[in-house]
Symmetry: D2
Subunit: 337 residues, 4 copies
């Protein structure tokens, strides 16, 4: 931690800060120029993280050099975390392709999609049973019944299933029916939910919040690992910017940066990020080339009648074609699909 | 709803869309130019809101003219909602001043602050017992014990108390001890929590999310009103932008716009928005002049030792001075404090 | 400047950095912990500003503590700069009200507006002759002819006139006809134009760029002052964010912050910022309460036929009413209008 | 254009709008529901683009369906524009690799870089002679002398050279010495400069502004084509968002979208976008996979002593390695490098 004093801070102010640091058990290193004084603070992570020096008289700025996370960092664990769920593997060179509809709508829809995903080479089946919707008047998902249809569809083709947990009170139930628990963008900083999932034994797919920084994504993942659950997959799904042509802005530099900063597998979701079917393929390709360990893509047997996110869903032939076009790229990246 | 077809869409595509609309029970009005065809859709809100036409062949854009909310709108209720909690009133010309520390830290701290807030003319006491923190290593609040200290401090000076509910499972408990339940920015789209609070009888203070649009704030409030609870106070607390000088960007046009769009009281929180003590006073003034029905301000007896948000907290003399300086402005705006 | 070395940087890397600093004539102060080494750099502004240390081996981050400006800062000049132009004054307690149409369209329009602005108590007349338009197919302004109409209208009521310089080659011509030269948001970092205006003797009204930080606004103003021209008025006119309800997000904390950081007068332009007529009045009020030294407002005798920016323009009665409603607030703020 | 009337707009208001449209020579198609009336407007582009209906009584919103550009669109020209400059080709399947230092600093530096770029297979040489710098105290480039060094270096290895035009008054001079004229991000809406370049015969490399939408990039390119110059290369170089880990956010969906919307070649600049050397390679790969027609990369023989942008520059061995790693990807995309 660096404490920058205001120009011409008085000696008394500087001494006051230094004293407080010593009392708290930290070391203070002064760098004093004619105008500026900067105090370097050395000590252990927890201690330093809890120091709140911003309010001290004479202090202009506090710059935190230590990161707010530890367990998820490459420094803590150099080799890639590999998440295994039933037959499927993501991370450490194994490329995961998660596909399925935005919402579970019916048994027929799910069975048809499951078949298509399996045949085209997808490795996990997704489908939303509890849907977070901006408006209380929009379709909110089929709930438990949807979970069961998802499970049955996954079983029918032997694919593990991924679905979102919206409510911390439903975590146990969702874990009964699903193999991977998804935390949606709106819940990325629902710390209660993160802690609950940290105590469970199901892999977690954590989506980046709409306005979450890379550091905040990592800190949220840290909540889960701190609870004991080490199987976390991070997912970049677009951030909110001024651009309106795409629904969100897919931040692929975040994928590359996360791959460098953490050992956890990192995937991308071009369907939600772009909100436009015609951009799904190029963004899937780009994500692979950026180093992603997997993808999440919306597929619907009949996108024009989808109950949500129709404009970004691929139909079955389009998904099959997508898989064919992505394979050589995955291979070129030295990964297995 | 307006459906914009792509240039030179085929007659078959247009017919297909129109047919689907008729089947769904909506009316379709065509506006056909040489190049562009636009279809106006008429029908009731719920019906139209659930139509998902974006995926249809030939459709370029779907523009929703109907809003995703209803109960909270000025069209639905023209006169201001007035929220009354014990002696305190916000809305309809009554100006509310909510003040207190970011976190409850000790009995002495709370009693001292409560006294100061009361004496200076504050109308409610705030204090965080459950704190949402980016890092799992940061101070997370005193929990239930903090709630009790907050309650006791409020009672000691006869001020109603406001505190954040972080976990839907704690809602009942928090409601036992607090008078107003705050939903923090990170939970603005935690729809489960909103629904739970909608079924309760405690007033709710709903903070705008860091990247929430005005329409999304209103939609979240609609979740609460839809459940039956009509006592909702909206709070602008800064949005996340590229600017780093201030912690967030206080969007006062949103305060003015919300006042026009909804009958609910709207307040502002300059402390969190700016993250800088020296900007709290001018932003309080600006918020009042923009038409805010109240303010939320951080006060701490000893800001430099605050366990969170020290740099933006006012000490007691500064808060007292602030209240004096704001009073004439509130009066000029035709409100009562 | 602070140089943060990566964890466990080698002594050779640290020595290399320190040597380079010494060679360049700067002092290096080391703060070495077990893990982190931070090097504080002391020296004069120009020297340090030109040091590019980010590329050195072992360097993780370079934090610039010195600001990229000097002449415009409160440290350099504590008292407010007062800009005087003909009878009009802005700054140092004098409140300026600049009003007029977005574009000059005709002699009749300008004379009518000028009269209205004068009668209602406006202090300067604005009108665009050279218009920056996103599309090459949109109306681009009347050019020199517009300048002359603006001049004549201003003279007819003895108000100084403000207009935008779009092209550095036109600066002299515009200066012949106008009293204050406006630099638009899109040109805030057109450094050639800034330098040219810095060499002239006309006051400059510098608008904040759509995505310019507060520090960048100040740095751009520094370009003008560095050239010798000290009469610069800064104008907050909204930044680009994800919010689409308003055209831009008026950042009033920037107004308050700029007032603290610089001695230059700071005004706000609620018309362009909000793009909505019904938000102009509350945002004018809020800007005054935030400490603005003046306002810029669009007025048009017939907004519905305005050739640009109709939806945000006030008509003459609305402007007259606005002035009446703002006056008591300006007085309360201790300023003169 | 669609004109949305406010709820229950009066018949008089509707008639007024329709009349005005007829007078202006446009057709009006009404879509009238019980609550909402929407008016579709049909007419030619120029006419409609100049209609300003937002200010009319009863009008809530004006939605422009026609785009503000034409010549640059795929509808206007389906096949790719191929830009040829001396031996180099970009577009239509030819992949361009533009490389070189941020700033021209010396003859030796330029000759060394030119050799390296040529040997590694780069197709154009870049180097800044006129540098736009936020602070007036930062290094502003070598100017004309720099241009000559760039030219000589390019000639020594037979590579065409690219450099930025900062000042419209310098356009002729820069065109004398350089083969491609770059418009920097800060000047993307310097319409005077765009018009000037539109009248010249040198290819233009137009960088996206920091907060420019895709539509604005296209509109700026339209300015150049409208002047007669059809050789324009678009460049995505990162937009400004809340994320601070990377300097800007590289928006690769914009690359894919631009490729669909326009026939002009589209390249990406990962060096400026990320500001971090370790992200250059993955982002180059991602850009290629997103469909980019080329790349622009910073290379410096001695990045740690670069006078600007050191932290993102590659040294010669790193650039050589980069080229080797990108080649198979370019081939997989069906392009020639």
């Amino acid at each position: 931690m660096l404490i920058v004093m205001r120009d011409h801070a008085s000696q008394a102010e500087i001494d006051h800060v230094v004293e407080h640091l010593h009392e708290a058990g930290a070391e203070a290193h002064l760098s004093q120029g004619e105008v500026k004084t900067v105090i370097g603070v050395i000590g252990d992570r927890e201690l330093i993280y809890q120091l709140e020096m911003d309010g001290f008289p004479g202090v202009t700025e506090v710059i935190r050099v230590l990161k707010p996370y530890k367990l998820i960092s490459r420094e803590f664990q150099a080799e890639d975390t590999v998440v295994r769920v039933k037959g499927a593997v993501i991370g450490g060179g194994a490329f995961g392709m998660i596909a399925g509809p935005c919402s579970v709508e019916s048994e027929a829809q799910m069975l048809e999609v499951a078949q298509a995903v399996k045949q085209a080479g997808g490795t996990m089946l997704r489908g939303g049973a509890f849907k977070p919707r901006t408006s209380p008047y929009a379709f909110q998902g089929m709930g438990l019944e949807g979970l069961k249809l998802l499970r049955a569809a996954g079983d029918s083709v032997e694919l593990p299933v991924v679905t979102e947990v919206l409510d911390v009170r439903d975590a146990e139930t969702v874990a009964e029916w699903a193999d991977v628990l998804q935390v949606g963008a709106r819940n990325m900083q629902n710390f209660m939910l993160l802690e609950e999932l940290g105590r469970m034994e199901r892999p977690v797919l954590l989506k980046r919040g709409l306005s979450a920084t890379i550091e905040e994504v990592l800190s949220s993942a840290e909540y889960i690992l701190k609870g004991g659950n080490r199987d976390v997959i991070l997912c970049e799904r677009g951030i909110r910017t001024f651009e309106t042509y795409t629904r969100n802005t897919l931040d692929l530099a975040a994928v590359a940066a996360l791959r460098q900063l953490t050992h956890l597998p990192v995937i991308a979701d071009p369907s939600h990020a772009t909100g436009r079917r015609e951009l799904v393929e190029p963004m899937c390709r780009a994500a692979i080339a950026a180093g992603a360990d997997g993808l999440m893509v919306e597929v619907h047997p009949d996108p024009q009648h989808a109950r949500c996110d129709g404009p970004q869903s691929l139909d079955v032939p389009a998904f099959t074609k997508l898989m064919e076009c992505l394979r050589p790229l995955v291979v070129l990246e030295g990964k297995r699909l």
